[in-house]
């Protein structure tokens, strides 16, 4: 896998009139929006709720189509997605949930091997035959993380996947994400409104404006190396203060 970057050029998007040009008085989510996501890095889009973060992910994935502008994805054959909720099929076991999304890409034996490998990595090797209803919320989200990484994609998009979890679990899962990510450094784009999460995971942080049409109001390269990121690091604290003032003003 040779992950590439993502480039958004002059994107225009509106929900009310997606197929035509912008009309007067219409709420425009993005207007001539540009963004460059570096390859093999975790980039974070930070912004308040309802500022268009998820819309941006859907445009990058191709679920939503902008009515002008282009999305360039280098060396990209597939995109993986990690949602706010685990979105596991309740009638399939943990391993069947992962194997299903690999069907198009691998033969049965390979699928089983990949699934087993990722379940071991997330510490749920003994739970492969369990149904989602038999797992805790945190375990289910771990399975969703394993599914996102098991999918042979060059890019991983994440839509606030740790939002609904308690602080301890959130920390464990963000650490788990980092552990998995370090293995193949896939281009990852993570949207969140949580500053601590952004600092812990992001190599680059983009701050999105709270008013429409959304614009990038800040772009920061995280000065703290991944293995040294913790809440009490002075550099992280400085960055947190800056990001907090950007979001509150």
């Amino acid at each position: 896998m040779n992950p590439g970057g993502i480039k958004l050029n002059d994107i225009c998007f509106s929900y009310s009139n997606p197929n035509n040009s912008i009309k007067d008085g219409e709420m425009v989510i993005f207007k001539d929006f540009n963004l460059k996501i570096t390859a093999s890095k975790v980039s974070v889009i930070l912004g308040p709720s309802g500022c268009g973060k998820s819309t941006l992910l859907n445009i990058i994935h191709g679920i939503l189509t902008p009515y002008s502008g282009t999305v360039e994805k280098e060396n990209c054959n597939a995109i993986s997605y990690l949602f706010q909720e685990p979105r596991l099929l309740p009638w399939k076991t943990v391993s069947q949930n992962i194997e299903l999304i690999l069907k198009k890409h691998y033969r049965k034996k390979e699928r089983q091997k990949i699934t087993e490998h990722y379940l071991k990595l997330i510490g749920l090797g003994d739970f492969s035959d369990f149904y989602p209803s038999e797992l805790s919320g945190g375990m289910r989200q771990r399975v969703a993380i394993a599914r996102a990484f098991a999918y042979p994609a060059e890019i991983i998009l994440m839509d606030e996947p740790f939002q609904a979890l308690d602080p301890g679990l959130k920390l464990n899962l963000t650490k788990l994400f980092s552990t998995l990510w370090i293995k193949d450094n896939r281009t990852s784009l993570f949207v969140t409104h949580d500053i601590a999460e952004a600092i812990f995971l992001g190599d680059e942080i983009f701050v999105l404006s709270s008013k429409f049409p959304s614009i990038i109001i800040d772009h920061t390269i995280n000065p703290v190396p991944r293995n040294n990121r913790h809440p009490k690091n002075p550099e992280s604290l400085k960055l947190e203060t800056r990001l907090y003032s950007l979001l509150t003003n």
Binding site: I63, Y81, F83, L89, W91, K92, D126, S136
Partner: protein, 267 residues
């Protein structure tokens, strides 16, 4: 975690058998009370032609089951019910999927389905007797009576499929075939089973009612009609008990499927 889950299940499960026992006991008691009431009223009326005693019905039941023709009648009625059910289920399933997926097809078919739902069973039987041979009439009536039930349940199931799971499948570029077989169909199974449970009783009732009027050779309905013509009330009731037993057996099988462990776990 494994231990924790199973302990929890055991705690929840420990109260269940007691509750079930309680319910079964109440059911048994009410049956005994009903039988006593029946016996008392039959003594009071003192006319077997109007209300035979319960033991007479049981004796007649034992007697008719000893006849080879009885088993042929049960076999024929069961086969007709199965034919009607399978045909109606297949047609209702496909129509339900079409109606659930397309509001236009739903709008186009809903007037017909409403008419079928409200049409009196007797009218259907009488019309079918004009159109078809006596053997086919019960199958056709069964088909028509349960078709709206299956269609309505399947189309409702389709409309209730979790959109977030479809979104997930699309995000991972799952094929339409995989979405249908791994997401849509498993999602609608609870609705289909509820429809089947509601339809199975209707299927038996409509087949036997059609048999009473159309009189095919060797059938439960024919047996009921023949006994009624000979004023053998205890035999009419014995045939009725057999119909109830058959209907209950099929409902029991469906309940077994609904309550199976795998099914409960996955939902």
């Amino acid at each position: 975690m494994k231990g924790f889950t199973s302990t929890n299940k055991r705690l929840v499960g420990s109260k269940l058998p007691a509750r079930l026992c309680n319910r079964k006991l109440i059911g048994l008691l009410s049956t005994i009370i009903l039988l006593i009431l029946w016996k008392v009223i039959s003594i009071k009326i003192d006319a077997a032609i109007i209300l035979p005693a319960p033991e007479d019905v049981i004796l007649r039941l034992v007697k008719i089951t000893q006849n080879r023709k009885f088993w042929l009648a049960v076999g024929n009625t069961t086969t007709r019910t199965l034919y009607g059910f399978i045909l109606s289920f297949s047609a209702g399933f496909i129509t339900g999927i079409a109606c659930g997926n397309s509001s236009r097809i739903n709008a186009a078919l809903s007037p017909f389905i409403s008419v079928i739902r409200t049409i009196p069973v007797m009218s259907v039987i009488l019309i079918a007797m004009i159109w078809f041979k006596t053997d086919i009439v019960p199958v056709f009536v069964c088909f028509l009576m349960i078709f709206p039930i299956i269609t309505a349940n399947v189309s409702q199931g389709i409309r209730e499929v979790d959109r977030s799971l479809i979104e997930m499948a699309s995000a991972f570029k799952l094929s339409k075939y995989n979405i249908l077989f791994h997401i849509t169909i498993p999602s609608i199974i609870p609705f289909v089973l509820a429809g089947v449970k509601a339809a199975v009783g209707v299927a038996w009732k409509s087949v036997i009612a059609a048999e009473v009027l159309s009189q095919p050779v060797k059938a439960i309905g024919t047996g009921i009609q023949f006994s009624q013509m000979n004023l053998e009330t205890s035999e009419v009731m014995a045939w009725t008990v057999i119909a109830i037993i058959l209907s209950r057996i099929s409902e029991f099988i469906i309940e077994l499927v609904i309550n199976s462990r795998k099914w409960r776990l996955s939902n």
